[in-house]
């Protein structure tokens, strides 16, 4: 920050109240999360004795019980599998399409772009009935293939929009040079577009992963088999079943929240960048 721009802001003395105010707001976010973690590490008896106090003893029992007996471990793995598969497919399809729309001549490019942009505006709840019926007709209800396909379809429009925008920044000279050297489509895609677009691709990967990991409605209606259930529906039913056992539910909350929180810790740069572009979503 240069001096001149500081002069148009508040004086350092006036900043102190702001800082303290912001700390208070931050506390309203941090404290509930801290409370969840602290509660998850104690027994229900201990919690009911004194919810706000220091636990008498710390225990991992809630986590072990959830993970092994209530199917949370399996659901966690199922969610991981479905999310990773969906994100990989989205990245492959979206970068191919994005590269083509950004840099190559395409028949009916305008038509494709219009389709992708206009379906982005469709509100989610409108699609659940027809998608369910289409998948039922194809015999894909109760099967990960159907669920993954839905995640890919709903994730793709934004992913294509985002990668088209990002890949436009790749200099034409580089692509031209590659063409002169005899590199074909896939060679250029892999050796030039992919490395130059790494940051955009990472941003997309993080955003799409968060979206699929946190998704509730399709994972709820498309997967009925309890062994195949994903994490969010499993957590929702645990929350309903164990109303009076808050430590147990809290452990489930932390297991589910852990993955997004880790991503925010290590990839906040990508998340912030992606959301600025995602403004149009």
């Amino acid at each position: 920050m240069s001096d001149s721009s500081i002069s148009s802001r508040l004086s350092p003395r006036a900043r102190w109240p702001i800082f303290i105010g912001m700390c208070l707001v931050a506390a309203t976010i941090i404290y509930p999360l801290f409370f969840v973690v602290a509660t998850s590490l104690r027994s229900n008896v201990d919690y009911k004795r004194d919810p706000f106090g220091i636990p008498k003893e710390w225990t991992f029992d809630n986590y072990l019980k959830l993970w092994n007996e209530y199917g949370v471990g399996r659901a966690f793995m199922n969610s991981l599998f479905v999310s990773l598969t969906a994100v990989t497919l989205i990245l492959v399809f979206a970068t191919l399409a994005g590269y083509a729309l950004a840099k190559l001549p395409v028949f009916g490019a305008k038509f494709f772009t219009t389709t992708f942009v206009s379906v982005m505006l469709i509100p989610g709840p409108v699609l659940i009935i027809p998608i369910y019926l289409v998948l039922a007709r194809l015999g894909m209800v109760g099967d990960y293939s159907g669920l993954i396909l839905v995640y890919v379809a709903t994730g793709l429009p934004f992913a294509i929009f985002f990668s088209t925008l990002s890949f436009r920044a790749i200099p034409d000279e580089l692509l031209e040079a590659a063409r002169v050297d005899g590199a074909g489509f896939f060679r250029t895609y892999w050796s030039i577009v992919r490395p130059l677009g790494t940051s955009a691709i990472a941003t997309l990967a993080v955003l799409q992963f968060l979206g699929t990991w946190n998704e509730l409605i399709y994972s709820l209606i498309l997967i009925q088999d309890s062994k195949m259930k994903l994490l969010t529906p499993t957590l929702a039913s645990i929350g309903k079943r164990f109303l009076t056992d808050q430590p147990l539910t809290s452990a489930g909350l932390f297991i589910t929240a852990m993955v997004p929180l880790l991503m925010l810790t290590f990839a906040s740069k990508y998340i912030m960048r992606g959301l600025q572009v995602g403004l149009g979503r």
Binding site: L33, F35, A100, V106, I128, I129, L275
Partner: protein
């Protein structure tokens, strides 16, 4: 050569297009068809507009629509909280980047997680009751009263939503030319005066955008919160349109009725979007 590369380019777009057309574009047409029939998913009986007429006459639908409008109270609250934090973050005091990430934190969590945090906190054995108990109050069953329930869901919406919105507003603030602020400071305009005459007018487009996406959000994306926190109850008192679509779709024998409701929602949101571009004269980025 040109023709060949055009073919390759088209082939690269095609897989994405087929998936999006099959699972987003086609379903939109299909839902229109379903809404004009009585169906269990296997047989379709053509009804013309009977489902719609029944919907418009259905007192539950009226009640649910009204419920959605109650949730609209969350919109100014979220925006106010977001605006205050954006304006303060824009001062770029020490550690503002850290605060930005903290405020954003609830946005990466699943609605199931956020919903259960609030359901637990306001539950009979929850921390709110325990806290009120410290002052000698009897524990309350908050969720048997729909006014409390709606208040709690609105609180959850504000808590989880303001961080993301403040990021959007902050992006708007950052794009104001700093010279404008400096000129005003030189002319002797104080901080409040600058806030009122420069900062706010300059981000009114972003504000308009944030306003409308929040408005649309309260009509289309409350499913998770409702499902986890109240399951729409007591009776239909906290049911929203998107939750009713789910209820009608998966617990009644006529999918057509749910589809008609979805179509009405679609057109309603379409109108909102049109209104957005009219009133706020926003240009979507291409």
């Amino acid at each position: 050569m040109m023709r060949q590369s055009k073919l390759i380019g088209t082939l690269a777009v095609l897989p994405s297009f087929i998936i999006v057309a099959g699972f987003m574009a086609f379903p939109i047409i299909f839902v229109l068809f379903i809404s004009l029939t009585k169906t269990n998913g296997l047989t379709f009986e053509w009804l013309w507009f009977k489902n719609y007429l029944e919907l418009f006459a259905d007192p539950i639908v009226h009640e649910v629509f009204l419920n959605n409008f109650k949730f609209v109270i969350s919109v100014p609250l979220v925006i106010f909280a977001a605006l205050v934090s954006a304006v303060l973050l824009f001062e770029q005091f020490k550690g503002w980047k850290f605060f930005r990430v903290i405020f954003f934190l609830p946005s990466v969590l699943s609605v199931v997680v956020i919903g259960l945090i609030f359901k637990n906190a306001f539950g009979y054995y929850g921390s709110v009751n325990q806290f009120l108990g410290l002052f000698g109050n009897e524990p309350k069953q908050f969720f048997i009263n729909s006014n409390y329930s709606i208040f709690i869901i609105i609180l959850a919406l504000v808590w989880s939503g303001f961080g993301y919105q403040s990021l959007l507003l902050l992006a708007g603030l950052t794009s104001i030319n700093p010279a404008v602020f400096e000129a005003a400071a030189i002319d002797g305009a104080g901080w409040w005066r600058r806030l009122w005459s420069i900062t706010l007018p300059n981000i009114r487009r972003v504000l308009g955008f944030v306003f409308i996406i929040n408005f649309i959000y309260t009509f289309s994306s409350l499913f998770g919160f409702i499902f986890v926190i109240t399951a729409g109850g007591p009776l239909y008192e906290t049911t929203t349109i998107d939750y009713l679509v789910y209820l009608r779709a998966f617990s009644s024998s006529n999918l057509g009725s749910g589809a008609a409701l979805a179509v009405v929602l679609y057109f309603f949101i379409g109108l909102l979007t049109l209104w957005q571009s009219r009133v706020f004269k926003l240009q979507m980025e291409d």
